[in-house]
Symmetry: D2
Subunit: 304 residues, 4 copies
């Protein structure tokens, strides 16, 4: 199978979709990203790398950061984490407060915003400098010392993130935040502001396709059991309230962000990342989801 | 009818209920109020006053303040107010965020917390010093220049009021707060911290039984139409998610607060206030509601 | 006050609204009623009668029948009724199943469909022939032996009433129906199909304004306490999810039906009925609600 | 890997759990099944078969039948099916009506009861005798001509299935059933009453692990794409509101029934079935889920 050629064909094929999505506009930094950006990269566990389009250009990874914070929280807190956050799909929008009220402040899973705030709170309770630690983990995983937060983005999120603030105070009212809401939000917004390229993201999540071993360093990031857990969470909860559709069409564990990035992994084989800023109604990259669907359809590779 | 004697009989009759309710405990200042406090006062529009028990002792009026802020907001904004807050019963707890999300940030009515925050925001947009104005209105209405905020209570609410903060940021996320959430909350918590006695509250709300004229000053607080509007809102929305039960048992427009006070009015005739700190499951004074029920049953007086 | 003249002025004034509402169309019999029908009648407790427009023409009273079935169920079951149905406003559409599921099959109040089904079930458990008894009560109350069900309407409702059937089976699944759902529905649909005129409805509900005594017969229909209870339920729950708005604008206990009728009572004074088939978004007669609002505004008469 | 030995070890290991679950008791036929039944079977796509415990004993497959009716409906209706039923996890109990009301009668997925009723309706609109066709498909798939409905079970379900009836009428009220609710329910209850053994179920679903080819007959049941779709739906929606937990612990697409059976597939490799009647709080076999978890943990085999 000629992966490179397949990626190139897909790149051409989804071009007409680039302007059908809506670029996120709630902060100026995201709104300013050109809608015609499109990149795709794939890394295999045995070292091959494929890249097309804007695969080397950095973008705001946003919710994709939830993979890294969850990884860290699982290392720090172990199974105790699941007393404070569930692992079921929510069936509701990522920023909904309804379920949180019905379920007494325990977020459904770590990939909706409320869950990620609890995950961040767990990290903050274990570490003096959560932000630097998260950034460092990502740097080590992708082997790039200059991966960093975009402080303008973080500040914009802070200034406009009323809904996330509501969520943090709501969690606090249920005693499901140990730290001050403002401190949790500050860390959370920083993690979301990380900027990385498709190539870097592929590298950074490759341990999820490699039984927990980071190929670059050879380090064991987590046990193979824990990797299976994260992959199952990605499949059932990773793409907002479109997880069923994503599993149906793409068939791989994946995580999307409102910056237009999506990472996916094929356990035992490879990681894959696509970036295109135009989003569909569920908040996932429209052309990006299509590109992943074409990839698994054309190659016949999926977990199903 | 010997009102004084009826009140005295009721006072004796509800004594056994004083310890069946739960004194609010979310802030130390409320938790410290003795459960056996019990007062009741009635003022007629033609000047008669009746009082029994602890009717002259001041307590934290809490949500009863929502009558005064609504009155002020109706004076300031007129019907435009109803574009930002509804006038339907919510059927949900007073501090629920669920309905707010389903209904895109428009609170059901001005007497649930979310609605009162919007009402406070409206006042803040019209007045430089909302807190002082609200306090002054109350002072004039009850004719006591020393009625004041309890700053310790206001600070305690601020320190523990995570749910109200969540609500304010949630409203802001729907663009239904014009001012900064922290500023709205500060004013809101101050209004709730007003301390007044049954006698003072009866005086202060008597305009609602008197076609809008404050008997003390002779001032027209609002038009008779507006008074009817407030009374209808009190009847359908004034006692949290127990409005139906309250209307059924008491049959008067009324407003309760978690400090254990309840005011009620009989349009054209009198205002009535009871105070007993033990609350029932809905957050209304348990013995207080019973006392009002006994009063309307015994006298045969109600709007129905 | 010249009541007759006021009614005539109002009749003229709301004419332009007759075609702004939507005539109920879910069954052909209701859909066929001309939108320009408009009648209004008022009866005082001391025997005066006023009528304008189509006040003598019969129409499908639909949910107004819930007053009569509740009256009967309160006579038959007393306070035990409230173990099976609540008395709080629902805050949801009249035919919603959501709250019913959250609250384990106990309807919020007797005036939403689910509550009326439980009320009907209670009657069926006490009486061999519920339908005939309800019809007879209505006949006696309004003094017209030929008031009857419209069997074509009842059959149409039965054929199309999937949502009411869903509700009945849902109640049964929570063990809150003792009789077979089909039997309860049959009685329910018959009660709703009663046809009466404004004049007849005014007569039939006049006991609610007269301390429980039916003026025609001098019979005591219920105690004055029970009358107060029904009036309070009408005010807080009688007009679907527009009770707050109705109380605000009209200020009288009232009950509406999708046939376009609305009855209202001023306790101690009179009953009032208006009919105009065009409905507003909440399912209440659009011109009818306006007519009632004009009446209480112009006369200054309301419970507030 | 010695599969037979692993299954035997697991059989022994979960014995202590047999009495921790609750055997379904809503109909006498299910309530009568001994709680200590336990069977497990596995079939590989290349013909190997492993079985332990009560793997050859037939039980009521209940919701596992939803796999077969979905398979048939996808063959009959193709992608048009998804206009009437979604493919997202519901996040609510399998028999909830709440989401159905919020989402205007479109069930979230084909594996909750409402979705399966729509699937059954689709089949009924295409076939004269849906029940016989579904039974025949199952017979052919598992190669046993005597697999049959348990008519006593079907009748019991019909007599007590008020909630399912409510659901069917609710769907009808949203025009999302073409056939009469009673007819749809009759077929649905029959499908659920099929009795099969673990060994038979493994055979019957093996096409899902074999790219759509039924190994017994060599027939193509569906395309390999369609198989991937069903497997993705099983993983994201197959085990009620515990899909996340099931994916996390077991890591295989699976479907459970209240009879205590669970089938799971490892695409490309094998099908697996376990039966133990005691259910956990989500309605999945308690010991059965544990047995599957032990299997994938011990063998290291899962889709993740």
């Amino acid at each position: 199978m000629d992966i490179q050629q397949i990626l190139e064909e897909i790149l051409a094929e989804v071009q007409p979709l680039l302007h059908q999505g809506q670029v996120a506009s709630y902060i100026p930094q995201l709104a300013a990203v050109p809608a015609d950006k499109l990149g795709m990269a794939l890394r295999t566990v045995d070292g091959s790398v494929y890249a097309v389009g804007d695969a080397a250009e950095r973008f705001s990874i946003q919710s994709i950061s939830k993979i890294f914070t969850l990884t860290l929280a699982m290392q720090l807190a172990g199974d105790a984490l699941w007393q404070r956050v569930g692992r079921e799909p929510s069936g509701n929008p990522f920023n909904s407060l309804i379920q949180l009220e019905y379920e007494n402040g325990k977020p459904r899973n770590p990939f909706i915003n409320a869950g990620a705030l609890v995950v961040t709170d767990v990290i903050l309770s274990h570490l003096d400098d959560a932000k630097a630690t998260v950034r460092n983990i990502v740097r080590v995983l992708c082997g790039k010392a200059d991966v960093d937060f975009d402080l303008t983005v973080a500040r914009s999120e802070q200034a406009t993130g009323h809904r996330n603030k509501a969520m943090a105070y709501f969690l606090k009212s249920f005693s499901n935040l140990d730290n001050e809401p403002e401190r949790v939000l500050d860390a959370y917004f920083h993690h979301c502001s990380l900027t990385m390229s498709c190539l870097e993201l592929c590298e950074a999540v490759l341990f999820l396709a490699n039984n927990g071993i980071a190929p670059l360093s050879g380090d064991m990031v987590m046990s193979s059991s824990q990797v299976k857990y994260i992959n199952s969470l990605l499949l059932t909860c990773g793409t907002y309230d479109a997880v069923g559709d994503f599993a149906y069409r793409v068939g791989l564990p994946g995580k999307s962000g409102v910056g237009g990035g999506i990472v996916a992994v094929m356990p035992g084989h490879f990681s894959l990342c696509v970036w295109s800023p135009g989003l569909d109604a569920s908040g996932n990259s429209l052309a990006g989801t299509k590109a992943l669907e074409l990839f698994t359809t054309r190659t016949g590779i999926s977990v199903f």
